[in-house]
Symmetry: C2
Subunit: 451 residues, 2 copies
């Protein structure tokens, strides 16, 4: 359904028609549509959404629209939304709202208030902040029939039944799937059919680690235990997907020297984008002072043999590319848990071998290219076998240094408990640039006596 | 459980003890452990895994170990594994095996053979290749009681019951959740309680698009329809997570100029890594010929004013970094579906504004830095206000060009139906390098009459 259809129906006050359209739409799609309207129409439209979908649509809206609605809500509407929303989603909304809205929300939270405060107190990137407190708990001595009865009497839709949790004195003993409930005999005991093979996390487990567990074990929910090993909540796979996406985006941004943000590009103002991008650019520009100093100190050599200057961009570029290849490989390996600090020596040994292979083959290609293309084809002044040799040798050394530095820096950052992703290409490029220039001029002075 | 424990138990032939340990282990963990053993021990250990977990462990092994086992299996064991494995997992294994193993597998496939062939015929990156054919289908005229009866009589564990599909004459009418089955009254009709709000994909839908739907709608399964809109299978969320991870890794590798591979780093030989990395390095090295040519053609100017050379690395580096910031932002926006080809003008307009902001602020910072640090502090020969102005102006122009090129190239690739990620930093850097040099020398010739 396009915006135009709704605009027309709104202008004709055909509210009943709007209601029926909303009835057939997926809440996610409704939430994508609503922000296209002005605040006043947004509130009006939201009130036309069928009750059973309203809280879902609300959950999927962006914080800006949520705030507009919360400020327009009557007490009764506020109460309704707070009753219907999942607790973890409610906490996500609260995190983004100004104080006056939060006060009204908490006042309407009723018996959910305690649960909300529980989640709010966990650190931002922890499993605790991600979990929901709504799950079905069963007692080990119940029969399957008892369990079915309990679920039926509870009869909620706002909780997952795909996996139910068997709990005794707050301790998690096992899980039982909806399939088990549907296929086991009514008089079987829960304790006899439950799955005791548990994947659990702690409230303080890092959310990235939680997401990796979902990926590794292909589970739909993971129970969260507190410091006393008591069950406090569950994390669902949709939250894990969000974390995986966010973490990948964060790594992409850091590697491109952008301050991480999770705001959609089209909704971010040019000024904000500038703010996210300029700090690293300035820092990296200033760090290039070193390369400038190195070149200045070899001014004499360069003025005597200007052809050497012509190869500086190629040497730096290839060094930078080689370094990025290694650093990106290692950074992602660390991010997805494929590599660990203990692998530092196997990574190093592998990168040394790869870098020698790359360095030697590039040097040969480069030597041939200078002689054939620059020398014979383009007839560039000053291209000699000696110059080609100097450039090729420098290239080989640069590639080896670049790859080793590219692999070591992220691992070093991890060992120092820093974020490996900030050690990405731009940072490594600056170091590699300086190293390659020093090597270049060193080799040049050795081989070419006239400079 | 560590390798050492198993080695000891194996040497003491304590097979019963090994069996009991396996019984308590998660199949995923068992699959992580097994590859640490030699082929002969691997086969022996695999035979000690409890029957109900064997196919799960097999599924999670890497192709190398799967092949070792398949080649060692008796006909009976082959039959058992083929019976127990999910069809989509079976197809994944078949994809990686040599012909002689595939022949044996298909011979043992029995009545699954047709289903396997169905999936095998879909293109590699399509929804069809990702789906499984095992799901629970219900008829709309059934009651909840009938449905419960059907599920109980089928009583399988190898199929998801979380969402069941209501199908009439091969057409999907709606879905019904396990929660509905457990909470509705037995005599209610399926057709009255089913959810008609469907998210579906086609067998030929790109798997990346499928993964985006899982992320957007937070669903656990998505039904797959064929060209006649008949239901053929379902895709489960664990496969979607794998796709999301793979696509992110692929983008990372392409952006770092590495040929994409999904083989774990530590299992890839140095030679293979070299093969993945060298083509782009050679290509980018050769493309630097242009920058070399540009510098050579301005040889006279450079030999007269060597200080200009000192700022080349900084100009190129900052240009490269600025370009990457824009290209990575656009590439990821396209990858996760946040940006589309139709946004080309809003992206362009935004990047122009951001680039002017970045360009001007960097130019000012650069001018001040050259005067204060290079000139006054370091006393570098040749640093004048004019040189500082030339460098600063070039920097501003370079940053603007770099950001606009960085944003346009991935969008252009997308419009031409190429992969935007290959238009990443190294490629853009080469273009930006050439542009910045031309601008540099152009501005220098204008402002400095002596060269």
């Amino acid at each position: 359904m396009t915006k135009e259809v709704f605009e027309r129906l709104l202008s004709e006050k055909q509210y009943k028609a709007i209601k029926s359209i909303f009835d057939t739409m997926n809440p996610v799609d409704t939430a994508v549509l609503l922000p296209e309207f002005e605040d006043k129409e947004l509130v009006l439209l939201f009130r036309l959404i069928p009750k059973e979908n309203a809280s879902m649509v609300f959950t999927y809206l962006e914080p800006e629209e949520q705030q507009v609605l919360l400020e327009a809500f009557t007490d009764k509407e506020m109460q309704f939304i707070m009753d219907e929303m999942f607790i973890d989603d409610t906490v996500d909304v609260i995190d983004e709202m100004p104080a006056n809205v939060v006060v009204r929300m908490l006042a309407a939270a009723g018996d959910k208030r305690e649960a909300i405060n529980t989640i709010l107190k966990y650190p931002e990137d922890s499993a605790g902040s991600l979990m929901t407190l709504e799950y079905i708990s069963l007692h080990p001595t119940m029969t399957i029939g008892d369990a079915l009865q309990k679920i039926k009497s509870r009869g909620e839709d706002s909780v997952t039944v795909n996996i139910c949790y068997v709990i005794k004195k707050h301790k998690l003993l096992g899980t039982i799937s909806a399939m088990d409930l549907l296929t086991c005999d009514d008089d079987e005991k829960i304790i006899d059919v439950m799955d005791e093979n548990l994947i659990t996390v702690n409230t303080l487990t890092d959310k990235e680690e939680v997401a990796q567990l979902f990926d590794k074990y292909d589970v739909l929910t993971i129970p969260v235990l507190d410091q006393e090993n008591c069950m406090v909540g569950i994390i669902t796979v949709d939250d894990a997907i969000d974390v995986i996406q966010e973490e990948a985006e964060e790594d992409f941004q850091k590697m491109a020297a952008i301050a991480p943000t999770d705001k959609p590009y089209l909704k971010t103002s040019a000024f904000e984008l500038w703010k996210n991008r300029i700090p690293w650019l300035v820092l990296l520009m200033l760090s290039a002072t070193f390369t400038g100093m190195i070149i200045s100190s070899f001014e004499d050599a360069l003025s005597k043999l200007v052809i050497l200057t012509a190869y500086i961009p190629m040497l730096m570029g290839t060094g930078g590319n080689s370094g990025s290849q290694s650093s990106v490989t290692v950074i992602r390996g660390l991010s997805v848990g494929e590599l660990d600090v203990k692998d530092v020596f196997s990574v190093l040994w592998k990168e040394i071998r790869v870098s020698v292979l790359c360095g030697v083959s590039l040097a040969v290609a480069c030597f041939v290219k200078i002689i054939l293309i620059d020398g014979m084809l383009l007839n560039t002044a000053g291209v000699t076998h000696t110059v080609a040799l100097v450039v090729a040798l420098t290239l080989c050394a640069t590639v080896i240094c670049a790859k080793v530095i590219g692999a070591i820096l992220p691992l070093g950052a991890k060992i120092l408990k820093l974020d490996p992703a900030v050690m990405a290409s731009p940072f490594i490029t600056t170091i590699v640039d300086a190293v390659s220039l020093l090597v270049y001029f060193g080799i040049a002075k050795t081989f070419i006596s006239s400079i």
